[in-house]
C-alpha cells in the first residue's frame, strides 16, 4: 500500500513539474523574442531614417518650416556635383584624410615596432601612449586650441619660437590651419594604429625570425618578408578605420577652426553640418550631401577591403 502511494505521489509530482503543452516556448520562439526588439529598434532607428533621408534628398525641404517636402528629383545632387565649393570641400577632406592617415600609419607602425621589444616600463609607456585616443575629441580640440595660441600656447615655444611677433598663427593662417588639424588628429589617433599593429606583431611566430636568422637574412629582409606581410591584414584594417573616420572628420576640425579661416578647413562634414543646421536648415540638400559622402566612403572602403582580401590571400 505504501509502495503504491509512493509511486502515485512521485507521478503526481512529476506531472506537476512538467509544463503543459500550451505553456511550452519553442527555441525558435525564444530566438524570435530576443531578436524582434532588436529588429524593431534597427528599423526605427536606422532603416527608417536611412530610407526617409534618401527620400528627402530628392526634395526641397526644411525640417523647421511647416511646409511638406516638395519633390525636385535629382536637383539637389546636380547642385552638389556642379558646385565648385562642394568639390573644394571634398578636396580639403581628401587631402586632410590622406596626409593624416599616412602620418598615423607611419607613426603608429613605428611605435608598435618599438614597443614590440621587451624593456622595463613597457606596459606603463604603452598605456600612456594610448591616452590621447581615450579622450573626447572636443576636449582635445579645446586644449590644443590653447596650445596653438601664439600668445599663451606652448606649441610654438616647443618649436623654438620665443618671439610671439614672429610665431606662426597655426589656426589663423590659411596655409597652416589644415596642418594644425592634421597634427592634432595624428597625435590623437596614431596610438590606435599602434594598438592594432602591436596585436599583429605579437601574433607573428618567433620561429619565423629564428629560421630567417639561421639563413642569415638581414633585418630589412626579415621586416620586408616576415613582419610586413604578417601585420598587413591588421594594418589595413587600421588604415580602413582611420580613413573612414578621417573622411567623416567633424568634431576636431569644428572645435579647432570651425572650418575657417574662410573655408580653408571646411571638411564635407562641417559643410554638411552648416547646411543641415546653423541657420540654414536645408534638410533636402543636406540629405543629398550625406548620401554623396556615404557613397564616397563605401567606394573608398571597398578599395581597402579588396586590398585586405588580397593581403590575406597572399
Amino acid at each position: 500500500m505504501s509502495q503504491i502511494s509512493t509511486v502515485n505521489s512521485v507521478e503526481t509530482a512529476r506531472a506537476q513539474r512538467m509544463p503543459s503543452k500550451q505553456r511550452q516556448v519553442s527555441d525558435i520562439r525564444i530566438v524570435q523574442l530576443f531578436i524582434l526588439p532588436t529588429i524593431i529598434l534597427l528599423i526605427l532607428m536606422n532603416i527608417f531614417p536611412l530610407i526617409y533621408s534618401l527620400y528627402l534628398s530628392f526634395t526641397n525641404y526644411s525640417v523647421i518650416a511647416d511646409v511638406p517636402p516638395q519633390w525636385v528629383g535629382l536637383q539637389n545632387y546636380q547642385t552638389i556635383l556642379s558646385d565648385t565649393r562642394f568639390w573644394q570641400n571634398f578636396a580639403t577632406t581628401g587631402s586632410y584624410a590622406l596626409v593624416s592617415v599616412v602620418f598615423q600609419t607611419l607613426i603608429g607602425f613605428g611605435l608598435a615596432l618599438l614597443l614590440r621589444e621587451k624593456f622595463r616600463g613597457k606596459g606603463l609607456i604603452t598605456t600612456l601612449i594610448l591616452v590621447p585616443m581615450m579622450l573626447s575629441p572636443i576636449v582635445v580640440a579645446v586644449f590644443w586650441k590653447l596650445m596653438f595660441n601664439p600668445s599663451v600656447g606652448i606649441f610654438n615655444y616647443l618649436l623654438g619660437y620665443t618671439n610671439i611677433n614672429t610665431s606662426p598663427e597655426w589656426l589663423g593662417d590659411a596655409n597652416l590651419a589644415l596642418w594644425a588639424i592634421v597634427i592634432v588628429d595624428v597625435w590623437m589617433w596614431s596610438p590606435f594604429v599602434m594598438l592594432l599593429c602591436l596585436a599583429g606583431l605579437s601574433a607573428i611566430p618567433e620561429y619565423l625570425y629564428e629560421a630567417a636568422s639561421i639563413d642569415r637574412a638581414s633585418a630589412w629582409f626579415q621586416f620586408r618578408r616576415i613582419t610586413l606581410p604578417q601585420v598587413m591584414p591588421l594594418l589595413l584594417i587600421a588604415v580602413l578605420f582611420r580613413t573612414i573616420e578621417a573622411f567623416k572628420q567633424f568634431d576636431l576640425a569644428m572645435g579647432l577652426t570651425s572650418g575657417g579661416p574662410g573655408d580653408v578647413t571646411e571638411t564635407v562634414s562641417i559643410r554638411l553640418y552648416k547646411l543641415a543646421f546653423q541657420g540654414q536648415y536645408d534638410t533636402g540638400m543636406s540629405s543629398a550631401l550625406a548620401y554623396v559622402i556615404l557613397v564616397v566612403i563605401i567606394a573608398v572602403s571597398n578599395l581597402y577591403i579588396r586590398a585586405l582580401n588580397k593581403a590575406r590571400g597572399s
Partner: protein, 442 residues
C-alpha cells in the same frame, strides 16, 4: 436601459468637456517655462521670475541652453512644434523665420492696445519685435536690449607720455575716439608687441555671427548697408563705402593680439583683462565682468560708444533679444504668458530688471538717473540703444549669414584676396539666395 445609460454617460462627458474648456483659463496655470540662452541675464530673469511667483503664485522656470547650441535646439523644437516651453527669449534675427513658419504668437493687438509697445525705444521694438519691417506687426516684447560698445584702458589714455607721444605722431590729442579713423590711429599707437600690448580687440569668430556683428559696426557707420529699399544687394553690399569699411576692419585686426583669429565676447574680455589690449569691442551684456574684481584694471576701465564714420553716421550692431509666446501651447498657457509679459513690462518691474543687471528697453527707465549711474557702462549703453542697426531678419537670414561669415573671415583673418573681391563674391552669393527665396527678381 443600456441605451439610456449610454445617453446619460455621453451627456456627462459632454458637460464635463464643455465645463473643462470653459473653466480652463490662465488661472489654472501654476507654472511657466521661459527658454533662453545660458548667460547672466537669464539668471537675472529667473530672479525676476521668482518675484513674479511671490506676486501671483505662478512659478517661473527659466531654462538655459548654451549659446552655441541655442539656435539648433530651438530649431529642433520648432520642427517638432514642441510645447516644452511657454515663452522664448529669441534672437532678433530669428523673428522673420519664426513668424513666417508660425512659431510665434502675434502680439500686435496685445502690445498696442495695452500700450506696452509705446513703453520701449522704437529701435528695439522694430528690431526685436516687428516683422516684416515697418509693418506694425509685433511678435516679441523687447526684453534684453544689447549692442556693441567699447571698453578702454583709461590709465593708458591718460598717461602723460602717451598723450604727448600720440599728439606728436598724429597731430591731435589722445582721447576717446570720435571717428573710426581716430580709433584706427589709437589702435596703431598702442600696438607695442615688445611690451605685449596691442591696440584693439575685434570679433573674428566665424562659426555663427561674430565677425559679421563686429564688422557691421564699421560697415553701417561708413554708410554701407546689407540691402537697399528694394532688397537688392548687388552694388550695395559691395559698394565703395562697404569696401572702405572692410579694409578698415581688416586693418584693425592687424593691431589685435596674436591668437585672436577666432575671437568673440569671451576672448575680448580675456585679452582686455590680461593686459594685452588697450581697447576692445564687445556687447554691453558682457561688460559686467570688467566692472568686477576679476578685472585687474577695473579702476581704470572706461567705456565708450561706437565712433562715427566719415560722414558722421554712427551705428552699433544690435544684440539682445525679445520675449515671444510659443504658438503651440494651449490658450490658457498663452494667456498666462501674456499676463507675465504685462507684469514684466511695468516700469517698476523694468527698473528692477535693470537693477539686477538686465538691459531694459523701457524708455523711462533708460533715461532715469538711477539707471545711467548704476554701472560705469550704462550711460554708453543708453546712448547706443538710440543708433542700433541689425543684419537681415528674413527667414533666409541663415543662408545670407553663412557666406558673409565665410568671406569676411577669409579676407580679414586669412588675408585672402582684396576687400573688393570678397564683397563682390559675397554680393553674388547673397543675390542668388534672395532670388531663389523669391525676395527679389532675377
Amino acid at each position: 436601459m443600456i441605451k439610456k445609460a449610454a445617453v446619460l454617460l455621453a451627456l456627462v462627458l459632454l458637460l464635463t468637456g464643455v465645463l473643462g474648456i470653459s473653466t480652463a483659463g490662465a488661472q489654472d496655470v501654476t507654472e511657466l517655462t521661459i527658454w533662453w540662452a545660458q548667460w547672466a541675464p537669464a539668471d537675472f530673469l529667473q530672479q525676476v521670475g521668482n518675484e513674479y511667483e511671490e506676486a501671483t503664485g505662478i512659478a517661473v522656470n527659466v531654462v538655459q541652453t548654451p549659446w552655441g547650441d541655442f539656435y539648433n535646439r530651438v530649431g529642433t523644437e520648432w520642427a517638432a512644434q514642441g510645447t516644452s516651453y511657454d515663452l522664448i527669449v529669441g534672437d532678433s534675427q530669428w523673428v522673420g523665420q519664426a513668424v513666417t513658419q508660425g512659431h510665434y504668437v502675434d502680439l500686435t493687438e496685445f502690445m498696442t492696445s495695452s500700450g506696452i509697445a509705446d513703453t520701449v525705444t522704437p529701435a528695439t521694438l522694430q528690431y526685436y519685435g516687428e516683422y516684416p519691417v515697418a509693418s506694425g506687426s509685433y511678435y516679441a516684447y523687447p526684453t534684453e536690449g544689447d549692442a556693441n560698445g567699447w571698453a578702454y584702458r583709461k590709465d593708458l589714455f591718460e598717461d602723460a607720455t602717451n598723450m604727448a607721444d600720440f599728439e606728436a605722431a598724429y597731430g591731435y590729442a589722445l582721447a576717446v575716439p570720435q571717428t573710426w579713423e581716430e580709433l584706427r590711429d589709437i589702435a596703431e599707437f598702442f600696438t607695442r608687441p615688445d611690451d605685449g600690448l596691442y591696440g584693439v580687440g575685434v570679433y573674428t569668430q566665424d562659426d555663427y555671427d561674430a565677425i559679421t556683428m563686429g564688422f557691421e559696426n564699421v560697415f553701417f557707420s561708413y554708410g554701407a548697408n546689407w540691402f537697399d529699399e528694394n532688397y537688392n544687394v548687388l552694388g550695395v553690399v559691395n559698394s565703395p563705402e562697404a569696401v572702405a569699411a572692410l579694409e578698415l576692419y581688416a586693418e584693425l585686426y592687424s593691431f589685435a593680439p596674436p591668437g585672436t583669429n577666432d575671437a568673440f565676447f569671451q576672448e575680448m574680455n580675456d585679452v582686455f583683462m590680461n593686459g594685452q589690449a588697450a581697447m576692445i569691442m564687445n556687447y554691453f551684456a558682457f561688460f559686467p565682468v570688467l566692472d568686477s574684481d576679476q578685472n585687474p584694471f577695473r579702476e581704470s576701465t572706461g567705456f565708450f560708444v561706437m565712433p562715427a564714420g566719415p560722414d558722421g553716421e554712427r551705428y552699433a550692431a544690435l544684440g539682445g533679444q525679445g520675449i515671444s509666446v510659443n504658438s503651440y501651447i494651449d490658450d490658457a498657457r498663452k494667456q498666462a504668458s501674456l499676463d507675465f509679459i504685462t507684469w514684466f513690462a511695468q516700469e517698476e518691474i523694468q527698473a528692477r530688471w535693470a537693477e539686477l543687471g538686465g538691459y531694459t528697453c523701457n524708455i523711462n527707465v533708460l533715461e532715469s538717473e538711477t539707471f545711467l549711474t548704476q554701472t560705469p557702462y550704462n550711460a554708453a549703453f543708453a546712448e547706443t540703444m538710440t543708433f542700433v542697426k541689425d543684419f537681415w531678419n528674413i527667414p533666409e537670414f541663415g543662408q545670407l549669414l553663412e557666406p558673409t561669415q565665410r568671406y569676411l573671415s577669409a579676407y580679414i583673418v586669412a588675408g585672402e584676396g582684396t576687400a573688393q573681391e570678397a564683397l563682390d563674391a559675397l554680393a553674388e552669393e547673397q543675390d542668388a539666395v534672395l532670388i531663389e527665396a523669391g525676395v527679389i527678381n532675377e
